[in-house]
Every structure is written in structure tokens, then in C-alpha cells.
């Protein structure tokens, strides 16, 4: 046909490219004060009342948005949740030093603890997803030859903070060696305050001990989890031998060892939920680990971390680059010298059909030409499936051959 030209198989090529987008999250989004509503709770956990206690409600995870989540334009950034390893000292201590189970194997915990089965359940869920075994334990570094750690710096992660980033931002995965997150390791009281503490550092006070956690070095030693895809170690930027967590790049999930990223021994005080209190709350004073993570609800642990540990200003607290895979098909549309030199544009001819681009009296000397602005890609049924526009008109005559390399991205 004179208006269509077949594209041979040799003129169709497929390619794949990776696009990296820089993502950064603002601290005030995660701190999520009551007025800006950027951190959403899903309070699906409800206890029964113990005695005259009204019971406790809590989320299993919270979601951070980039603006008020009531607005339709808001985007989900990441989820935040925590878990405790079922076989950890923290879990055993919480159960009174001896693991007690009911007749069906369900673990029982004293009423002074809260949501212990949910906390261990969340840990197991992530272990099953990322490690392939719900009973497995995360370790940082991921590949641990021997646990040479001491004190708080054992390699096994017993109390984990999970940050699954949303697919909108991770796209086809997080790029190695691009992750960085600022974190405050300490949450002090607002004034000198010795025991018995009268002020709270759970919900107010001074955040200090700012450190940067990063996955620097993960590109030099690429590790893979058989069930969790690519994985790298997250380290303290000021001391890269100190591994504080793991980044699962394909899943877009960061796992932090709370014992390492926080001053776990720091005494925390403040009002927390309590299932066995007539008011539903109680004042606690004790270390962050194990006392606070065992006694408080998941919502309250997350509230404290989100509101006090990431900062609250308009500055970036977390950043990474994602990978977006772009599959392209290249169509080489070749117009040889003797093809596509005339136009069916109505302005190309006058009312008698004469070509306006040929000067009168020059018919035997001048040849027709046209300008190309559009490339249309059709199927065999002459249906227009895709189209491309040039940035400016390109002249075509019988002294020119042109090749339009049309890229269609998927």
C-alpha cells in the first residue's frame, strides 16, 4: 500500500532499561501529630476487660502517608510495625521465665504484658515471608558465621522494627547502597529528673543521639535470601562494623534490631495501656527493652518510635533510590528515498488536485516533497495501536532516506 509500510521482524527489537528514582521521606510525616493526620492506625486488636478494666485497643501496624490521609491525594509511604522473636529472652521473661502453653500449644502471658502473641506473630510472619521459615530468626549481619556479639550487640534480632515501604515508591525494588535513615537513639526527659521520675520521656522530652543508618557496602558483597530475594546489611554510618539491621531490596522491607538502634537500657517512663488496670492505663518506669516493648501495646511502641525517634521537622529523615524496569520495543520505521514523498493533507493540493509545492511552470524540474510530524504504528487490520510525534517537522523528498526509531515502553 502507498500509505502503509510493513515492518519486518528484523526491524523490531526489544530492550530493557532500569530507571532509578530518588525517594525521600519527611520527618514530620512519620511523627504525624494529631493535626496533620499523616500516620494512620488500624485498631483491629481489642482485648476483653480484665476485672473493671475497659480493655485495650491497638493496631497491628501503622501506615505513614505523605499528607493528611483523609485527603484523596495522599499517598501511602510505608508501614511501621514491630515484633518479638518467640524464642527470645524477652519473650521468655515476659511469660514469667517459664513458657506456659495451653492444651493446644498457645502460649500464655501474664496480664501485665500486652499483645505478646501478636508481637511474636508479626515477627514470625516476616520470618516466613523473608526467611522462608516462620520459626527462623533474623540476624544482622544476614550471613552470620558465629555470634561473637556481647551484651546488646548479639547478632540475632530479638526485638525487630519492620518498615515495609510501599510499592508506589519501591517500584521494582530498592537500589543497593542508596538507603539512608536518620534515627535518634535516645529519648531523654525534658529536665533533670531522678528517680522516682515525675516527667515522661515516652511521649515528650528531648530526642538526641542522632545517627545515620545506611546500607553502604551492600553492593560490594551481594547477598541473597532464598525466600526474600536480594538482601543487604544496614550499618551505622559512623561505625560500619556495627550492623543494625537488614534491607530486603526486592520486597522493599527494612528490618531493624531495636536493641541496636535504640538505647535499649534507657529508662522509659510514662502512661501506657494496661489490660489489668481499672482505668485502662498505668504508669510504667523501666527499660525500653524488655519492659516497654513487652508491657505496651504495639500502637504505643510505634507511637513512641514514630513521634520521637525520626524527628519532627520538615527535613528528610529517610531516603533511597528505587529500580524501575522499563521494557521497550524499538520499531525501526524506514522510509527509503522513493517512499513517503507526497501527502494526502488537504492543503497539499488545490481544488483541481494540483500539488501546491510545485511552482507553476516548473513541473518538469521540481519534485514533490512533504513534511513528517507523526509516526503511527498499526496492526494488520489498519487499526492505530500507538503513535509518536516528532519534535519538529522533518522534510522528506526523494533525495532523503529516514529511519524513525520509535520506542514503545511497557
Amino acid at each position: 500500500m502507498a500509505t502503509f509500510k510493513t515492518i519486518s521482524d528484523g526491524n523490531i527489537q526489544t530492550t530493557r532499561n532500569v530507571l532509578n528514582q530518588l525517594v525521600d521521606f519527611v520527618a514530620e510525616d512519620v511523627s504525624g501529630s494529631d493535626t496533620n493526620n499523616t500516620r494512620k492506625k488500624f485498631q483491629v486488636f481489642v482485648t476483653g476487660g480484665f476485672g473493671s478494666s475497659p480493655g485495650v485497643t491497638s493496631s497491628l501496624f501503622q501506615t505513614v502517608f505523605d499528607q493528611n490521609y483523609a485527603l484523596q491525594t495522599s499517598n501511602e509511604l510505608f508501614d511501621l510495625t514491630m515484633g518479638i522473636f518467640d524464642g527470645s529472652e524477652t519473650a521468655i521473661t515476659a511469660s514469667g521465665g517459664t513458657t506456659i502453653t495451653d492444651s493446644r500449644g498457645k502460649k500464655l502471658y501474664p496480664s501485665s504484658t500486652l499483645m505478646m502473641r501478636e508481637k511474636t506473630g508479626i515477627y514470625s510472619q516476616f520470618a516466613q515471608l523473608l526467611l522462608g521459615n516462620s520459626a527462623a530468626q533474623f540476624t544482622a549481619p544476614f550471613s552470620m558465621a558465629t555470634d561473637s556479639g556481647t551484651g546488646a550487640f548479639h547478632n540475632e534480632i530479638n526485638e525487630a522494627l519492620f518498615m515495609p515501604f510501599k510499592r508506589l515508591f519501591t517500584r521494582d525494588g530498592i537500589k543497593r547502597e542508596t538507603f539512608a535513615m536518620r534515627f535518634y537513639q535516645s529519648a531523654s526527659r525534658s529536665a533533670a529528673d531522678d528517680y522516682p521520675y515525675t516527667t515522661t520521656n515516652l511521649w515528650s522530652g528531648i530526642s538526641s543521639g542522632s545517627v545515620i543508618f545506611t546500607d553502604v557496602g551492600s553492593g560490594a558483597s551481594i547477598e541473597t535470601s532464598p525466600n526474600g530475594g536480594g538482601v543487604g546489611n544496614i550499618v551505622n554510618s559512623s561505625n560500619t562494623t556495627e550492623t543494625v539491621g537488614l534491607m530486603f531490596y526486592d520486597y522493599g522491607v527494612a528490618v531493624f534490631d531495636m536493641k541496636k538502634i535504640l538505647n535499649g537500657n534507657q529508662t522509659m517512663s510514662g502512661s501506657i495501656h494496661a489490660a489489668d488496670s481499672p482505668t485502662g492505663t498505668t504508669m510504667m518506669t523501666g527499660s525500653f527493652i524488655p519492659d516497654f516493648v513487652v508491657s505496651a501495646s504495639i500502637d504505643q511502641v510505634l507511637d513512641h518510635i514514630a513521634s520521637r525517634r525520626f524527628g519532627s521537622g520538615s527535613e528528610t529523615f529517610c531516603t533511597f533510590q528505587n529500580n524501575t524496569l522499563i521494557n521497550s520495543t524499538l520499531y525501526f520505521c524506514r522510509a527509503t528515498a522513493d517512499e513517503f514523498n507526497f501527502s494526502s493533507n488537504p492543503t497539499y493540493t488545490d481544488t483541481t488536485g494540483r500539488l501546491v509545492v510545485i511552482d507553476s511552470g516548473q513541473e518538469s524540474l521540481q519534485k514533490g516533497f512533504c513534511f513528517i510530524t507523526t509516526v503511527g504504528l498499526f496492526n494488520a487490520n489498519e487499526e492505530l495501536l500507538a503513535m509518536a510525534k516528532l519534535s519538529r517537522p522533518v522534510m522528506k523528498n526523494d533525495e532523503k532516506d529516514l529511519t524513525f526509531r520509535v520506542r514503545l515502553d511497557f
Binding site: D338, F340, N341, D359, I372, T373, G376, N379, L384, L390
Partner: protein, 244 residues
């Protein structure tokens, strides 16, 4: 948008899928298969060449013609195709004309008038003949001889009798592919078909009709013919009334 690599004559452009492309891709039945291409020049006004001459005119078109972004409507995206003709010294294109339109066709205004309320079938159907005529030469270049035409009509109000649409667009238009015959007296290609009203409701008529003052309101629509080979186009207006 694309950019030009003058050293290789290789021009890189990013394409977008049209509505039809996305529809066929979603169908997942192998119908999305790009097998041919066409070039277009919808934005170009060749009258500039006539006004400014070939040299200045070419430069003005190249430098002063902004190009629109790609349109995703498949039936509007590429209206005027570039044509391949082996005769480099071609100076005339043939012209597509209505040579017969039945009693519903008014030649002076070039408008088809249908009346859905009429009991006379001639007011509801029109046997039309379009002929490709060389105006200033005796023959049509072989490369411009059409074997079939694409006829686009409104799918709510009109249809081609004894035929079924080949392409259904999302904007209530359909395309019929109709083969050409040869005019016995002139030997020129012609396309003959009977255009008729479809059954439609009063509500549909009221939705699409426009007021015509003291005259009866009517639906204004168009029949567009495009030569598959020559790219020649002809648009005929149709007015449909629904009262006696």
C-alpha cells in the same frame, strides 16, 4: 518528544499507546501486534509553500510549525497520511468526489438529509457513489489506485446496509472497509454503498440533536471516506431529523 540526529538520519521518538492499542493489549489474545507503520503530517499547512515559495516556505514550516503532543484517540491521531508514489514528478493528485447521493443528498450544499419520521424509505437511505477523478490529467497514477476505502460513520444513527463494521472506535464511530469498483464509462475507481439510518430512540435523538431555530432540530454528523492506498479523504455532512 523526539530529537534529531542529523549525522545518521536516525530519529528517536517515544510512542504512546492509543485507546485501541490499550484495548487490544488488555484483551491478551495476541491481537496486539504491530506489523506496519504510516507517517502523517496533520499539523502542516502546505499553503505556506505557495505563499512564501519553496525555499522560504520550507524553512518557515520547519522552524515555525509547533507539533502537538501525541493523541491517544486512534481515529483522530493520524488523519493525513504521507503517500508513497514512485513517480517523483507527480504534479496532480486525483480528487475524491460525490458523483451520486440519491434523493437525500443535496449537491449544492453537499449535505445528506435524512428524516427518521418519514414513511418514505428514500428519506432514510441513500445509495452513494464516490468516484476518484483525475482533474487535470487523463489517468491516475498506479500508486494512487485504491482497492478499498475506509468509511467512518456515526454508529448510533447510521450504518452501511448489508455490511458490518470492521473497526469499532470508542467514540460511537465505526469504520467499514468497502472495496472499489471501476466506473464503466471512465475507468476510474469508485466506491458504492447504501447509507441508512439505524433504529434509535427519541431520547438518543434528543441527546445528540441541536436546535435549528424555527426549523426542526437535527443531529449533525459526518461520513468520512479515506482511500486505503491514496489517502484521499472526503467528508460529507449528514443531518438527521426526527419529525415530519
Amino acid at each position: 518528544m523526539g530529537f534529531l540526529d542529523h549525522s545518521t538520519n536516525n530519529i528517536i521518538v517515544d510512542a504512546v499507546l492509543t485507546d485501541t492499542g490499550r484495548q487490544l493489549l488488555a484483551a491478551n489474545d495476541g491481537s496486539f501486534r504491530i506489523s506496519q507503520f504510516a507517517l502523517g503530517d496533520d499539523e502542516i499547512d502546505y499553503g505556506i509553500i505557495k505563499k512564501f515559495g519553496r525555499n522560504v516556505g520550507q524553512e518557515k514550516i520547519e522552524k515555525n510549525t509547533p507539533i502537538m503532543e501525541a493523541l491517544t484517540r486512534s481515529n483522530l491521531g493520524l488523519k493525513y497520511k504521507i503517500v508513497s508514489v514512485s513517480n517523483s514528478y507527480l504534479t496532480y493528485f486525483p480528487v475524491l468526489e460525490v458523483t451520486s447521493g440519491g434523493s437525500a443528498y443535496t449537491e449544492s450544499s453537499g449535505v445528506l438529509n435524512f428524516n427518521n419520521a418519514s414513511s418514505d424509505e428514500a428519506d432514510k437511505n441513500s445509495s452513494m457513489t464516490f468516484t476518484v477523478t483525475p482533474k487535470e490529467s487523463t489517468s491516475i497514477d498506479d500508486d494512487l489506485l485504491d482497492e478499498e476505502f475506509f468509511i467512518e460513520v456515526n454508529n448510533i444513527f447510521l450504518k452501511i446496509r448489508n455490511d458490518s463494521p470492521d473497526i469499532v472506535n470508542i467514540d460511537n464511530t465505526v469504520v467499514y472497509r468497502v472495496g472499489t469498483t471501476t466506473d464503466s464509462s471512465t475507468g476510474n475507481p469508485q466506491v458504492i454503498f447504501t447509507l441508512g439510518l439505524k433504529g434509535f430512540s427519541t431520547n438518543q435523538f434528543n441527546t445528540y440533536s441541536i436546535s435549528a431555530g424555527t426549523s426542526a432540530s437535527y443531529v449533525k454528523t459526518f461520513i468520512k471516506l479515506t482511500g486505503a492506498t491514496s489517502g484521499l479523504t472526503k467528508i460529507v455532512e449528514a443531518r438527521i431529523t426526527n419529525s415530519n
